[in-house]
Symmetry: T
């Protein structure tokens, strides 16, 4: 179906491929977006990409997403762990949210083991590197197809 899906990436995810490749893998964000674009075409879905290192810009973008997207995929990076503002923005626009993490955040520093996005997400995928994005995208499509509503 013709779902409109947004993929948001938070701070430092524009550094993928460069930043700690032993943790985050060798693909760049452009590589990931290309792979998701292909999947979107296969699914007949529209996809919109957004990346920012600025919490405020992410909040602005989410607010504007209201009414334009059927689902938000988000890897908020470091901001996952402390941005109540992004948490609030996602709640305010009332669009199903799917959470993504490249790395297994539960096997890292204690401050990375809690996400403020998890509690309001439909679901999430973590730890599979680029695969996390692909799985999350497919899950979003199936979720939308099933006409399920987000479980908050």
């Amino acid at each position: 179906m013709n779902w409109r899906i947004s993929l948001i990436n938070g701070p430092n995810l524009n550094m993928l491929g460069i930043r700690e490749p032993e943790i985050y893998g060798k693909s760049s964000l452009a590589d990931i977006e290309k792979e998701i674009k292909i999947l979107a075409q296969q699914q007949g879905a529209e996809i919109d990409f957004f990346q920012s290192n600025h919490e405020g810009k992410i909040v602005d973008y989410i607010q504007e997403a209201r009414g334009h997207f059927n689902c938000i995929l988000i890897n908020a990076g470091a901001l996952s762990h402390y941005s109540i503002a992004i948490h609030d923005a996602l709640k305010a626009v009332n669009i199903p949210v799917v959470e993504i993490h490249l790395s297994n955040i539960y096997a890292r520093e204690s401050f990375r083991q809690q996400s403020l996005i998890s509690p309001l997400a439909v679901g999430g995928v973590f730890g599979f590197g680029v695969l996390s994005y692909k799985m999350a995208f497919l899950a979003a499509c199936e979720f939308l197809a099933a006409g399920q509503k987000g479980k908050e």
Copy 2:
């Protein structure tokens, strides 16, 4: 008297009326600002409005407020709970601060029950919805009229 007062609103408060109306009420931020403007005219005070989803812009604005305002009214929204930078900016400009919350933050998630702005405010009003703003504005006027200095 001719007080110059600033009213700052933080992230997602531009979504008022849309965002979780059962918690935040149905008035938009424009509605609130209109009500405060009327009150200001009644009190013979000047009022300046500022809203941003960006912590950095709020810090910039507060810094520039120095010497221009007699009092800052602030509902920092989600940033109330983790922005040490806004806390520091408010301390740096040394203007009396009045804290506002639309909802009763003490009856919500535990991460919303502590505010980094409270300890440096003259006082605050919470839980009355739009009325919180009006009460805070009136309190600020009376506080200034009484020539009281901020109790930090």
Copy 3:
């Protein structure tokens, strides 16, 4: 309108003007009650004052308030921080509650930074000294006028 409003003051608030005036200000409780009385007359409201150093008497009073008042304004003083009995009494009578604190309790000892009354209040005002009472009274009147129900 002809609201019936009760103003309850807890332990040591009868010492106002004497007790630590640098924190609590120079007005006596009688001064405050006089100011609130004038406001009440302006608003066409009835006001009833009660002060006690005894938790049990405050509980008794709240229980008897049932059916007699449209709103309870309460500054429970020290008891705000540990009296589950007053919390329960306020819940039991099901009257909207407005919380008042003279001082900014969030800028004081850690044991004063949590109130058992906040979670069940419609809203509250803190830190403005005598002004806290006046603002709380006005907020109560506007709240009742708006026919809003308490958000618990």
Copy 4:
């Protein structure tokens, strides 16, 4: 046998039937006392009822209970959770104590999940509404009949 048993109720239990009936049920305290009186007559026991919203009066009453009762049944209500004074009074008179709670305190707010009375009780009954009182009364009679000494 001719046991003399005291039933103490703490703050707000005189509001039963009125206060949050979805938690505490529809019976009034008078209804409960009537039911217990009938049970007492069936068991050939004397029963004495006491209710107060005042911690101090409950302490006074417990002190006077010394030598007059074989067992104290107590639902200290909100005071269960913070009154070390009642804890001490119960210890001082050295009479077996049976604890009662109408509601399931372990399924409610965290501040209600610890009781200062539990550690010194013979045993307790919680969560069954009025039935909690009846079960506690029967348990007390059987406990006394068995000549068991309180396990502190």
Copy 5:
């Protein structure tokens, strides 16, 4: 009435009479079951007994209880304090639960002072030794008779 009631005992309760008699009393589990059987006959209820030292077997048993019993009485022993699996099984079968403890768990080691079963029980009885079982059985019968639904 013809209630079908199940009584489940967890690990080491088959050691009653042998295990720390100063805490758990001198009656064996067979003694207790005999007493409950008599009570059941008096009440015209069917009773089914189950004891296991195996968490998994208790979970199996609870699952099979679905549709067969009107009420589950459970003293999960040590497993009360850490078995989320039993908690989940009890929730899954949706039968009213009554919690039993022989000893006063609130007067013992800190790791015994929290029960994962309490929050989902209708109510519970603790500390009366064998009497805890009898009171719990009677409470269950009265609870069922009153057609009350479990308060979770």
Copy 6:
């Protein structure tokens, strides 16, 4: 490729469709296994299913899995949160692990918000109901295809 994959389900997952369907959905475990079987056939993979309510049997099964499977998919249910024995078994057999949760465990009780399996998993999927299983299966296949080694 001809991967051999094992899917382990822990306690109460045999109750799916019956147990709290508003949280866990309406599909039975057999339904899920059927869906995964179809996916496996599409991927040319072998799949082995195991469910138990017994921690010990799950540990036995995992130990025997050594050398027989290329990947373990596991939804350990309640045991995820406290079974160090399963954690140790998974570590001992040194097979890549993919974690699955039907519900969003981060939006539920605090004791469900930490998993002892997460830190040693390659990655995981949570919150999508049956979809969580399918995504996890696909992720496992792609992960194996990519010849990636488990990131522990």
Copy 7:
């Protein structure tokens, strides 16, 4: 010199000699007051005794003590550990406070190891039984004689 000194005893201290004599000793409160009276006469001081089981009455008494006493000796008993109201009353009247405990509160239950009175006392004596009172009285006299001001 002609000091006026007040000795306040909190809940259950009227039970001395009866209550747990292995902890609190065999002397009654009357015995203690007699001993202190003799000491007072030796020192040429006036002494006033007050005991209550009611927090509110102790607060009332302390408030009235203002201007009448040079020093307050207080053993607030159980209330030492949670009565912020007594803490506030002592602060409000601004009279030097000497804290007394019969038992060694630091060797007892954890909830008895913190006193809300200690931080505002000049000093204190604990653990010596009746002797604690005598030493505290002598310390108060010497403290007053030395014209030292309370170190708060």
Copy 8:
């Protein structure tokens, strides 16, 4: 002398030699049991070996150990850290317990640094690999020889 000693091994200890050999060493459990058997013959003691991955079976075994053994040597593996049921079983049978750990549990994950078996053991040996077992066996023999009673 002719002591009867039991050696219990918990979950995953049957994987010794295979499981993380850099932590647990290269000897299999059979190797260890062979070494202990030799020591037992040298000491003229009977030895009984038991290993299970099932908490329930270990509890069953301990209960049956009552009256048959003079000492229990136990390495409960992962269950050391959360099985209150095993703790209770060991207490119930009242046989001296010697605790064994292959690895230095105090130098590993925080959840492995506390043992529920330690507080009721006579003593223990940790960190020496296979040697831990031998030392524990010798300690048990000497302990029994000395006729010392378990210090609980």
Copy 9:
């Protein structure tokens, strides 16, 4: 009577009069010892003084005190808060201990609010400056005279 009493002072107490006189007062340790000497002569007691900045020397001294003294008065200064070795030494020699603090340690930094000596002291005196020593000395004499044994 002819009691032999030891007065031990810990680190930095040799700096009295110099060190933070607003907290510790203007008297030197020599002044204090002189005052105590006079009191000792009045009481017919022998007094031995010891001060060291070295934890080890204090432990040595306490060990040697065994059999030579009827009572130890100790102000261990900073070591009160972390020296388990001094705690153990005092326990080992089994002589009644009286604890002294010049300042009110409960009104200072949180790390000074717990003493490892308090739990094993007969009793203690804090906050009275030099007077703390005198009161402690008198309390010790009366305590010994009363033939009371240390309450540990």
Copy 10:
């Protein structure tokens, strides 16, 4: 040598000289940058200055610093204590980091006593006011000269 060094200042450091001069001193940021410029010329190093109140801009700047600088000196101000995004950016660019604080953060509010930058810095200087910057600059030069690699 010709090192290229960057000096980053976080929120409110542009207020230096104005903001709480009793804590932060009287020099403006321009004064500090002038002093560092002189030092840089003496050392033959290039220096680049950047200040922002925006977390996002600091993250952008750090990302762009990759490959252009030999060392980053950073006083992230308030963001030191909560910005995981800056922490991640500094890790991603893999340039040695030297941390600077004007004030002694360990002697201030508890929320300022932990820095997320410290764990990944080579080293740091705190508390010396403007001198902190100069010392940090010199340390960076010597560190680079010594060809030492950052100890992370």
Copy 11:
């Protein structure tokens, strides 16, 4: 073989036989050292004994041990629980460490349940009284014989 082994005892272990014999047993330190000497002769090992109540002397001794011993046996007594200096000294000399405790420290006060020596020890023996020393000595000999390196 000709191992050179050092046995270090910390504060108050020179009081063995005198100090709390119900916890520490009746043997003196000389008795223990005699027993170890005999064992050493049997094993053909050299043994060096050191005891001190002074943390500093133990640190000095450990530093001098460098290059002279193959293994350090240490019962640091009270210092086990807080001396980071001894921890550091043991790390600095890089000699295998075996930890000894006479009593079962895990069954005593909470401040004795953590040891700063455990994390860096090869292994340890606790709770067996004098036997702990003998087992530790034998373990050390076997450990050295096996040419095993310390597992830190």
Copy 12:
């Protein structure tokens, strides 16, 4: 100018060059002192060196430093983290203190991440190895030259 400066090193710093060189570097303490001596000569300052493994000797030394030095540089090593006695001694002598750490203590074990010396230091330098000493010395000279008073 002719400043007199003292450099104190705590336990195990005499092992520098030997102890964990990957953390602490290869220079010996003598090397460091030589470098500081040269710097001192360049600055026209007198320098005094002191190292001890004994807390008590460091306290003695600090006390004697009173009146002889203008500044104390101190790397208290392990004692930084628990010696309240050294904290008190430094406060007592009222000389500006500069704290030094060779390693980055904030990137190590949690027990090394808090220093009792930091809160009373003028400032500090950490993580630069030997360079930390040189920077601290220069900072001290500049600090003294500027006639700045210690900010405590």
